[in-house]
Amino acid sequence: MATETNADVVIVGTGIVGCLIAQQMLDSGLSVLMLEAGPRVDRWRIVENFRNLPPGLRLHFDAPYPPKPWAPHMESYSDAAAAEYLQLEGPNARAYRQGYVRYAGGATRHWAGICWRLTPEDMRLKSLYGVARDWDLDYSALEPYYTRAEYAIGVCGPSDPALQWPPIRSKRYPMGPLPFGPGEQRFTDAAARLGLKNVPAAQARNSRIAYDGRPPCCGNNNCIPVCPIAAKYDAATALPKIEAKGGRILANAVAYRVETGQKNAIEAVHYFDSDKHSHRVIGKIFVLACNGIETPKLLLLSKDERNPKGVANSSDQVGRNMMDQPKLVAELILAEPMWTGVGPVQGSSIMQTSQGEFRSKHGGALFRFNNLARGAFGGVAAVRQGLVGKALDAEIRRLSACTAELTIEHELIPDPNNRLTLSNKKDWLGINKPNIYYDVGDYVRRSAKEYSVPLVRKLAAELGATDVQVSTEFTNSDHIMGGTIMGADSAASVVDIDCRAHDHHNLFLPGGGAMTTGGCGNSTLTMAALALKAADAIATQMKSS
């Protein structure tokens, strides 16, 4: 039943990383074939799925994206459901319940659109603070790619350097910033009274004007789980553009083996279709951009005689150093309304708290006022009180207006023991599920205890909170990093600074997995920058071959 297809560049994964590379390859005149494990579903169907959700599922961001049997992803609606696909263990297993969907367009379909860059210091933890690793790529080398990524996906942000993070830029943002909603403004004012600066987030969201054919944001406030009008960049918007340039996209094509050949070059990728038939795709360059969990999983699944520990894994670092920003949440009740929910779900953060000499002892932290409208929280909580009629209406209004949520995201350092391996449990296609051991480590725990939780309590008090509940269990931020870690030393890392596998000259593993460290902000813009850097390297390599 096997059929064979080929292209110059074969890309596994149709998320932001795969799509950015595909577009650049096509612009360079190369042929591109993309494999996507999941289905390709129209935006409007996801929007309807979301709006039909019962209130209790509103905050489960994967719920509008039901997985296909052949492309399972973690479903968060119950603990039992969540335990089906991702096999998690270790002291902080709960904090690696990563919410990504295996759908064409990938996890940017339900991201918040925030585009923080790393700072130069974030990339030099070892030399500055004696912890973790240094990147073997410095900020100045990455900066042009950050800028290109911002223009590729359309990022809005402030032009005042005092409000930029970090204010080390070669070019202004393609669009000006979005205004703060009233809740964010109150949080900004409260932070300022404590000497802290809450800065507008750079975000891949069109402010006031159309960008790349996508309309300006109209404030539906459901960036997560889907922007109904594509004002926020998501990679689903790139798919028809890729096809218009001649790229081919195969949905429901689950890559399960990377085949090596002479000189350990990659020869082919094998995939199952939704009828469990196997196919083989050959090409000159192979890009695995399946995300920080699926990419190491695929490499480990592909072990062969030449690569007994898995493809690209002579260093034994594939699947190790799994990172995220462990999250704690403070729930506030206030005497006065905050009017949360005007504008996008996130629009700012306190970033200066991610930096400091303290990083030799504990991690930094980011503080964010969550601007997701409180209606769903308020409604469910009021109904649970058993209220009816006018009393119910009044309580829904009070809880929606006079509550708030502050989020802390902590910096975590790479630890080889935080490791993805193949579980013995298998999915519908017979493919091993990923198993991940996860411990946030003392670096994060100290940060929470000595630094971030005391500070979030101060912020809550300054906002006028009458009640503050800070969560005690770390949860996931969905920023999957580290599993194919980058470095110059091929014995201690998986990919070089172009995201090329040390072991295979024609295999690229760009994205979050390559990040050496992750800082406090989300990883997407760095992933996009690394994707463009890899794309340059691929184009150069194709020209010289």
């Binding site: 169907r45 309807e48 709006r51 019962p54 719920a63 039901p66 300006p216 109904p228 028809p240």
Partner: protein
Amino acid sequence: MPKLRRVLCCLLIAVASNTWSAHSHAGEPDQLIQRGEYLAKAADCGACHTAPGGKPFAGGLAISSPVGTIYSTNITPSVNYGLGRYTEEQFARALRRGIRSDGANLYPAMPYTSYSIFTDADVQALYSYFMHAVVAVDAAGPSTDLPFPMNIRASMMGWNLLFLNKKPFESDPQQSEARNRGRYLVEGATHCSACHTPRGFLMQEQSNQAFAGGQVGAWYAPNITSDIDSGIGSWNQDELVKFLRGGDALGKAQAAGSMGEAVEHSFQYLTDADLNAIATFVRTVPAIHDPADQSSRFTFGTASSDLGVLRGRTGIRNDSGDPTGGELFQANCASCHAPFGQGSKDGYYPSLFSNSALGSRNPNNLIAAILNGVNRTTSKSQAYMPGFAGGPHDLAALSDQEVVLLGNYLLERYGHPGISVTAKQVAEVRRGGPSSSLVTLARLGVASAVGAAALIVALIVMRARKRNIRIA
């Protein structure tokens, strides 16, 4: 020695300009040139003679027509490729009579029938602007090469004899200065009738149906006579002026397609006095009533929603299956136009009820807006709606059948309940508007005169001016 030539040119220009200034109403040559620039905007020359991303007035815009592609010409003062060798008299003949300097006829894609009323003074101002303020682009654009029999330019002569006005503009002393000025602009520079007046058998504008509405490519240019029900008799002066300047009449209509581009490239630059003059004249255009119009197209529908029966019915697990019109509306439209179709308070997102596109008996503008979206930028703001036709930049890829479901839902709930959308109409608008079988007819010799067919086709091109067809 191009440098030397340029210096000489500048000297000549300086001398020539001084000479002209004595005759011009504007006085100083700078003012003459400025007036020419203003008139070029009013006449929307750049819309056709500037290609997207190309240099101003260098031509080369591909205008696809049912009989082949026509390319707009270079009208910069380039000596070899543009108007550099044109005398003012030759320029005037091209502008007002459709005759090139070599004596060949222009295709009426160039609206010289309207420009025929330009005064000598205005022609001079335009000439002055094009020769002296437009940067010469020394590059030949692609040449137009229509298939036989459309390539016989001389066939235009007969048609010109029948339909080309050769009388200069005359003010009516009985009317106000503003109305006379308005009529001069509307019938001349802004060539409104080219789209808004229906065409007769030979594709000539039907003078007894002036401004009663006509199909232009994918879009329908509606009745803009003073009739209360069929036209815009219910609009006041301010509404019309604001519409021309910004493309939006709150709770009535929004400019899209060719009208959106007219606002963007032309009307937004006109003075308040001229916009008011245009409005003054347009509002007195004799009413033409269509008996089928029981009420104005701006009055249909009210805010409503069937969310109550929609939500929870289909569950959350579907990623396939046939949608209903209501689902398509809520999922694709309501995020901006609001769940009750009411739009936003500031009007940036128009309400769908009390909306010309949905209240018209011709559903083409509704279909065209869904498929092609709206993109109208003025110095004040951008009105942007993505298309839903499945293009690389479109927000969705709705099928013809889905557009039928959505369109009929919208018409029933927010628009003219007696009107419906068919898959055939959607397919036609998706193709860019009604197509023509004239080439076949002409080649079969069915038309009584091949030349007449060529004329007809050429006029279709004129109606489907560049900006309409770009949407296709």
